[in-house]
């Protein structure tokens, strides 16, 4: 994908690089093309619905920043804390990502001001545009920065998630960063290379139903202007789109294709996982491992009974925090990647595979995607369920100023969902393990001399991870 982004299009057609011409070769399963659903189509083609939703999320962000800066410092009574770290985070992990892949990116307000400056208009592109439109440096491409961003979040999360002022400043910072990057670089540079949310939404988007593909490749071949590529804010070329991790579902390609050849498909879950031909990138593998490691770390620090860890994570700048940071980074930078690489290497050796270890790691990291997705869903349930009653009460008094807009400002202690919550978490983790195992087996079948021996060490890794999550969440 990165190589394609470098080619300049002046009527050239990308058919080389050994990629299959038609995506239909590998899509025997059914897909539902949302762009052809009669009542839904106008909602996708018109800019207004998406624009209006984004305006609402932007207004929500403005209010969140206001609440964070001027509302009560008490987290449970501040809209900023509850709505960012409980309501939005839960919606992201339980709905947006598993069901919609990178769907949050399609309605995210953070790049919006920058986009307006870049395209010179609020709704559509206009004449006077403000941006240097530099190309993103080659060295910084890929998801390395996004993984680092997520690790940074992990180091400061104890304070960020509990202090309303800090949450507001982080949001302001993200807006500022996005605007700055939009004025400097072309397209949605922040979203593609920096945003940690975009990073993990992207890798998990490979497991989710939505995908943007072309309907008939032969039409694209004869089309000279390639308006889809020219209009894509993510710098993608729809004809060559093989996985959904880079596509932010902005639908500009759909709107600009003169032949109506772009499809917004809903595919069965995980139908794109398990094919060796997937470009197995090391940066995505690392991100997948960071997500797993972070799930374990967050579960240990936040939902575990070890108070000294929590105090260490909270006292930023102190020696205990330094130790915590060191441990967190060592775990995520050496232990998890090391163990996984070992598992991949053992699998390769046992089954007599001849692939380079680097490629094998990149390839096999697909197995970690369902595991990580479901681990994060389970973890989100474990910490958000006990606090769901605050979502309602904070709607009644968002700033902690003593309002009672909906009459429910002081909801009594919420019903005890702990029994259901534990069973739910266990079921979700089991589903993730089941799915990951099936992806591992698919990879075995797709490789040259595949045998179960290739997958066994990796399955052991996934099994141990699942056991660890069980013990941390319900043990």
């Amino acid at each position: 994908m990165n190589r394609l982004q470098e080619v300049t299009w002046k009527g050239k057609v990308p058919l080389a690089e050994g990629l299959p011409a038609s995506p239909r070769i590998r899509a025997p399963q059914k897909r539902i093309n949302l762009a052809q659903v009669t009542w839904f189509r106008p909602l996708l083609l018109s800019r207004w619905p998406q624009f209006l939703i984004r305006c609402l999320t932007l207004a929500g962000s403005v209010f969140t920043i206001f609440a964070g800066l001027f509302g009560s410092p008490v987290g449970s009574h501040n809209f900023a804390i509850i709505f960012v770290w409980i309501a939005w985070w839960t919606a992201l992990k339980l709905a947006f990502i598993p069901l919609g892949g990178r769907s949050w990116c399609s309605v995210c307000p953070i790049p919006l001001p920058g986009e307006w400056l870049q395209q010179g208009g609020t709704l559509e592109k206009r004449r006077h545009r403000f941006s240097l439109n530099l190309r993103w440096p080659k060295r910084l491409r890929g998801s390395w920065l996004q993984s680092s961003g997520f690790l940074l979040i992990g180091l400061f999360s104890a304070v960020t998630m509990t202090d309303a002022r800090v949450t507001a400043w982080v949001l302001l910072g993200l807006f500022g960063l996005a605007i700055g990057l939009s004025l400097t670089f072309e397209r949605r540079a922040f979203c593609s290379y920096l945003c940690p949310i975009g990073g993990f939404s992207g890798i998990y988007a490979k497991t989710a139903p939505p995908e943007v593909r072309v309907v008939d490749a032969s039409i694209c071949v004869s089309h000279r202007e390639k308006t889809c590529y020219l209009n894509c804010p993510w710098g993608l070329y729809p004809l060559a789109l093989r996985d959904s991790s880079q596509c932010g579902l902005c639908l500009e390609c759909l709107r600009s294709c003169p032949q109506d050849n772009i499809a917004i498909n809903l595919r069965p879950f995980g139908s794109d996982l398990g094919w060796s031909r997937q470009s197995g990138r090391l940066d995505d593998a690392f991100l997948a491992l960071v997500m797993l490691g972070s799930a374990l770390a967050f579960a240990t620090v936040f939902t575990g009974p070890w108070g000294s860890l929590k105090s260490a994570a909270f006292a930023i700048g102190s020696p205990p925090w330094g130790l915590y940071a060191l441990g967190f980074l060592a775990f995520n930078l050496t232990l998890m990647p090391g163990l996984f690489s070992l598992a991949v290497w053992m699998g390769s050796r046992w089954s007599g595979q001849k692939t380079q270890l680097r490629r094998a790691i990149g390839n096999q990291s697909q197995v970690l995607l369902p595991l990580g997705l479901f681990a994060w869903i389970a973890f989100t349930i474990s910490f958000a369920f006990p606090k769901l009653n605050t979502v309602l009460s904070v709607l009644s008094d968002p700033l902690g100023w003593g309002w009672n807009l909906l009459g429910i400002a002081n909801t009594p202690w919420s019903p005890d969902l702990s029994g259901i919550s534990s069973i739910l978490q266990v079921s979700i983790l089991l589903a993730g393990l089941f799915w990951s195992a099936s992806v591992a087996q698919r990879l075995v079948k797709a490789s040259d001399r595949g045998s179960l021996r290739q997958a066994l060490p990796i399955l052991a890794f996934c099994f141990l991870f699942t056991l660890a999550m069980f013990w941390l969440l319900v043990g």
Partner: protein
């Protein structure tokens, strides 16, 4: 030999075996090593933001008393699954007495806002063996096997 061909005759025999095993693991009552219930007292100190001790272990049927002693600000303690709650001001130890009739692992949390990390002030009450954990581990083996078998064809 005959056994093998018999099994192969039933379509989807693997799934039937798996499902039966899963059912067994989920509902089979594991015999408890019955220890005589006794009275236990736990002296729990609460500070910002931890309980000491944070992990309390008891046997099913024990008469458990938790003496909550707040050491800096007002703290509370509520046990998930038992629906019990108490609050302690520094200088006023609170007592919670109950019979640990439910088995498993239950988290207890602070119920009085005591600062930033209050939502994460958590401890754990372990009553008997955590059956959920063992069953989950068994089911995990089955889940991995099922995932592999699903793609065998």
């Amino acid at each position: 030999m005959m056994h093998k061909s018999l099994c192969r005759g039933i379509p989807g025999w693997r799934w039937i075996v798996l499902a039966s095993l899963a059912l067994l693991i989920t509902v089979l009552p594991i015999p408890a090593n019955a220890k005589a219930p006794q009275a236990r007292t736990f002296h729990v100190q609460a500070s910002r933001f931890s309980y000491r001790p944070a992990v309390l272990t008891a046997n099913p049927g024990d008469r458990v008393t938790i003496e909550l002693k707040a050491t800096d600000v007002v703290h509370g303690l509520a046990i998930d699954g038992y629906n019990l709650e108490t609050t302690s001001d520094p200088g006023q130890t609170a007592r919670l007495t109950f019979v640990a009739d439910r088995r498993g692992s239950f988290r207890f949390r602070c119920t009085v806002t005591c600062g930033n990390m209050h939502p994460f002030m958590i401890g754990r009450l372990q009553v008997g063996r955590n059956d959920l954990l063992w069953r989950a581990a068994g089911l995990a083996i089955l889940a991995a096997a099922a995932g592999v078998w699903k793609e065998r064809k």
